[in-house]
Structures are given as structure tokens and as C-alpha cells.
Symmetry: C2
Subunit: 161 residues, 2 copies
DNA sequence: TCCAATTAGTTGCAAATGCAACAAGATAAG
DNA sequence: CTTATCTTGTTGCATTTGCAACTAATTGGA
């Protein structure tokens, strides 16, 4: 029993107290890759005179609910943006006439954000550039099976404890 | 031969022009996961009165070359930080006496950054917190084999074209 | 009904980031 | 040797982010 106890103790110490070497490598790689890819894709967008990726993401979410629009907190949840930040991101989009911010009927505090015609137009113009940058910098680096596996692993990793 | 040609064409169109659905899912998941994990770990650091992760990363790099120190551009390459940004990050660290910035003997333009005693102390104080946050939020979510596979896939993805 | 607690969103202020221009030392070509 | 070019790093300015405090509307009890 002594051996088993020692084994359990070691296992516990190694598995829960200390991140393994593999864990640390994956952690570093995760941040490096994400940063590098984002930088490259953003650069491609900018070179073609297009706004940053955040704008695209918001517009894309909104384009899925053209009629009813979305509440700000809904966009925030989907994009993982804090509310104050989102508030000002919407300001910018509104100023550029890409979205409209209407008072909300069922909740006097909030507003409904809807994509405007110019917003749709921008989506259409940006997608070819985004698509190419995405494929060149990311898509073609892995086989379809690897891509599915990557998404699965990342999904597991971001599950709340 | 017509068929083969058509096949090739389709393949080309699908594989290089258009990111597949799997690619898009993995792309979204990559950014969501990274953002979420970073947020959680940064929060843990802050709750314990520790500085942001960037500080830790720089100090860690420097702690590997205690004697000779590192040039700023070397740190920049390893951490994927732009030079102007790094310049000011070092300013902050220097102001907090965590590093020293000495004139560089072999190149009059640059300087060598060395970790100071207080920097080492901070590393020691931060690691237990960082380690726990890393393990709880990331390490324990995957098996060791999955972790290795994740690092491998991310590595492939960030190879320059 | 009335009041406390929660939620949605905004705003002021400080800190961090990106961009472009810059200074100054190194390098290479003539 | 001289001059043009490249590299390393800094700085000013505008934009963006994070934090905390705030308003206003909703919800849920007593």
C-alpha cells in the first residue's frame, strides 16, 4: 500500500499542481500562433484599405439576424468582448454608418443593433480579402482532418472548469 | 481527361481559394480560446497583486541569460512584440527596477537588458500563481498526448509560408 | 406596492498600442 | 575614405483598451 500511496501522491503532484512540459509548450505555442496569424491577417486587410477584424466580426454576427438585430450583450457574449469596449466599438461602426442603434422596445435600458446597407456592402467587399488571407496563412497549413482535430482540442481547452 | 481536369479545377477551387468550413471553425475557436484563457490567467495574476503576463514573459526570457543579458530586438523576436512597444515595456520594467538597461559594448546603437534581483524575486513570487492558473485553466483540460498534438498542430499552423 | 439587488449600457480617466517620423550607429558599395 | 543604405531603438500623436464609477431600467422579494 505504501507504493500505491506514493504513486498516487506523485501522480497528484505532477498532474494537478504542476503544468507538464507539454502543457507549457502548448501554452506558449497557442499564444504565439494566434498572435502571428492575427497580425498577418490584419495586415492583409489593412493593405487592402479594409477596417480591422473586429469590425468584420461584429458585422458578420449582425448579418445573421438582419431583421431583429442583436442586443449589445449578445454580441459581447459571442465575441468575448467586454461591454464598455463593445459600446465604443459600436459607436465607431455607427459613426461610419455601418450599423444602426435603435431603442429597444422590450427593454428600456438596451438597444438593438442592426446592420445597415453599407455594412452589408463592406462585408461583401472584405470577404474575398479575408478569405484569401485566411486560407493562405491558416487554412492550407493543415489537412482537413488536422483542422477538425485542432478545433476539437481548442474547444475542449476553453470549456469552463 | 476532361474529368481529371474538372477534378483538378474543383480541388484547386476548394482547397486554395476557399477556406473550408472546418478551417473557419478552427479559426474562430483559436481566437476564442486564446482570448478566454489569457483573460482567466491574467485575472488570476491580478487578483494576487501581480503584474501582467507580458512582464513575466520578458523576465523569464532574461532569466535564461542572466550574465550577458539580451538585446531588445532579441526579446522582440522571441515574444513577437513590435520594437516600439517593447521599448516602452522595458521602460516600465526599468522604472520598477526589475531590469537594468546597460549601454551595449559591441553595438553603440543598442543596449543590453539584464534582469535585476528584484526581477528574479518577482519571477519567484509569480510562478506559483501562474502555475496554478495555467494548470487549472489549461493543463488539466487535455491529456498529455492531446497536449502534444495541440502544440504540434499550432506549430504547423504558424510556420511561415 | 415598495424597495433592494441585478443587469444593460455609457463615460471619464489612465494606461497601452499602433503608426510614422526620427536619430544615430553599423554596414556595404563605389 | 566617402556616401548611401540598413538596422536598432526612441518619441509624438492618435486610437484603443481597461477600470471604476455612474445612470437608468428590470427583476425579485417582503
Amino acid at each position: 500500500m505504501r507504493v500505491a500511496f506514493a504513486t498516487i501522491w506523485c501522480y497528484d503532484a505532477l498532474m494537478t499542481l504542476q503544468p507538464s512540459e507539454e502543457t507549457i509548450q502548448a501554452w506558449i505555442q497557442l499564444h504565439k500562433s494566434q498572435r502571428m496569424l492575427l497580425e498577418r491577417v490584419e495586415l492583409a486587410l489593412k493593405k487592402n484599405g479594409l477596417p480591422p477584424l473586429d469590425w468584420y466580426d461584429v458585422l458578420l454576427e449582425l448579418s445573421r439576424d438582419t431583421d431583429s438585430g442583436l442586443r449589445q450583450y449578445e454580441i459581447g457574449q459571442r465575441m468575448l468582448l467586454s461591454k464598455h469596449n463593445l459600446s465604443r466599438l459600436i459607436d465607431r461602426l455607427e459613426k461610419n454608418r455601418l450599423v444602426r442603434r435603435d431603442a429597444c422596445a422590450e427593454d428600456g435600458r438596451g438597444n438593438r443593433i442592426r446592420i445597415a446597407e453599407e455594412g452589408k456592402a463592406l462585408l461583401g467587399k472584405a470577404w474575398p480579402v479575408y478569405r484569401k488571407a485566411l486560407q493562405d496563412n491558416f487554412g492550407e497549413k493543415l489537412t482537413p482532418a488536422e483542422m477538425i482535430e485542432l478545433a476539437r482540442l481548442l474547444g475542449k481547452v476553453s470549456k469552463r472548469s
